[in-house]
Symmetry: none
Subunit: 201 residues, 4 copies
């Protein structure tokens, strides 16, 4: 693994970390496994990230970017209709989870909630990185909400930001449920609820 730029190596480490932390939790993965899975020496990992915790923070940051691109941006590019965009987001998430489930019979839940819940009381930095990621995702929900409301005048008294945080909470909740119930369909059910939130609140 020597013919790589420093940044490429960092990315390789982070992508491996994202995957393993997602699958087996932060404490469930050790730096040995991480280095082996990344095809890199353990010491190399430490030249890129000075501690496991720092690596986790960077992994959350990179996961934010990847999720933004592959889940939210593609959902938005596929349609301009806010309800459809919302459904697309859930579809994207569902496809990923179902395909893992089909080959491995596991549901991994939300990578952000997973590591956030595990480390929130231990690592402020990880907690903040997760919150920051959620901030990014909320912008998309905000767009959806305001677009929807602009097009459909309702008699709702809810504020936009209440809808937005409900949408975020709903995504987190359905991913937690899918993990605990080992049932990818929980994500689809979450999609229905999300539309309910948008339309009926």
């Amino acid at each position: 693994m020597k013919d790589m730029s420093k940044e490429e190596t960092s990315i390789q480490i982070l992508d491996t970390a994202i995957d393993l932390f997602w699958r087996a939790s932060y404490h469930g993965v050790n730096m040995n496994e991480l280095s082996r899975a990344a095809n890199l020496n353990k010491a190399t990992l430490y030249q890129h990230f000075s501690s496991k915790e720092k690596l986790a923070v960077a992994a959350v940051e990179r996961a934010t970017l990847r999720t933004q691109t592959f889940v939210f941006d593609t959902a938005f590019e596929a349609s301009t209709n806010p309800v459809q965009r919302l459904k697309n987001i859930y579809q994207n998430v569902f496809h990923t989870h179902r395909s893992i489930y089909e080959t491995e019979s596991i549901c991994l839940g939300c990578p952000f909630v997973n590591i956030g819940v595990e480390l929130a009381t231990t690592s402020e930095d990880v907690r903040k990185a997760v919150i920051k990621g959620f901030g990014v995702f909320q912008e998309y929900y905000e767009q959806i909400t305001s677009d929807y409301r602009a097009a459909n005048d309702s008699n709702s008294t809810s504020l936009n930001k209440e809808i937005v945080s409900a949408l975020l909470a709903n995504m987190n909740a359905c991913l937690v449920a899918s993990k605990l119930e080992k049932r990818p369909e929980a994500i689809l059910e979450g999609s229905v609820r999300a539309v309910n939130i948008l339309k009926h609140w």
Copy 2:
């Protein structure tokens, strides 16, 4: 710590474990800390629970009972009105979390989601114990939902069980949010959403 029946000792261990796992996650607590906090010798723990994992399972089971009693039963005893009962549940949860927050500046989240999310891919037994706990809580939401619907005929197309699982998901979500955002008020916001779910779906 010698003048105790076997069961009393077990309960002392479990209550300690519930508290510590809640505060610092499963991997964040070791058997040393656990035994010290329980005022018992480490080896004694192993005479009551043959492994840390088994202890975690039993802790989840006991936490289920305690939550049922102190959160749900008291909420139901305080009122017969389904909406009020729902609000009471959230109030009970909120009070607990706010008082911890006031003295320790931390939000601990949902003990079931915490350990479930951390161990779901590692320990089937813990995962199942969490799911079983949720099953108990869902019965209360089921009662609330059917009571509410019996009293208020709506034109909703949602099934009862959809409402019920939305209510459970909503509780989990607001506790996760309160933990990640370090904001007990997220639980109150969850209460508002719960009522929304009940009334508007």
Copy 3:
């Protein structure tokens, strides 16, 4: 290694540590070697001493006791004459070093100076333990000095405490020299100088 009281085990660890640190320096010995040499599991060492540094501090303290007993007390018991007592001290040290030299062709120097010089800028605790050990030894030199002066009125202007610290420094110096020169006889030469200090200053 299980049929031992906790204190016996601690002593076994410390005696092993004294020996190994003396032979190979603090950084030159790792906890693996230490545990193997002590016939104990590495984790057992950590149940007795919470860190390598703390172990080093305790080792210096125990080495102080042993040196006091086997070097200074025996030197004093063998004679009441101050000059002879001084010579006895050096003889005791010399015998130890020469016998090691004869079997292993090495000179280990002064265990206190060795570890003190190695760690003085790193560990205040070790530095203080060494200084405290020297304080114990100085009491013997003080006895010798005042006894000698009581018996031999000289026209010297030196203060007792100047003689005492010169005697301590001389012992340290000759042990350093014997180590660096790989020559146990340097200790005998130190003995001659010590007598010079006592008589001619």
Copy 4:
């Protein structure tokens, strides 16, 4: 750090190494710190010195030269009187140590004794380099001793070489003491003793 001759680079490395080894011991400094402090890439160090140990040997050799020049030669140039020369040596050493002590509150001891004592049983090459350095310094003490004796006929029975090695030992001892006691004045006290050795033995 590219516009430098090979020798200049070597010297920069060695001067950095002398300083760091003096401050933090051989094992207390790693090649990373060394390269950073020298403003050079770590691999560059290895092109100049094939191992850390070889670097240490070269550092001791260079430290010998520097000490000879800045401590002993200047002491000799400042006076022709042997007692004064001896005092000058200690003054030079004292000034260096006191100024470090004033800015950093530490006493670093003797760089030769420090590394010699740390590595004598590990590295014959370092041990020999230290001994060789001492040989250089002893020539100055030899000059002082014979000059003094030529000018002051005494009834002493000591041989010149005994005085010389006592003077060397005394310097080492007072530097060790200053380090362990964190007291630069120990060097001044050593100066008094050195004069005692010269005059009264």
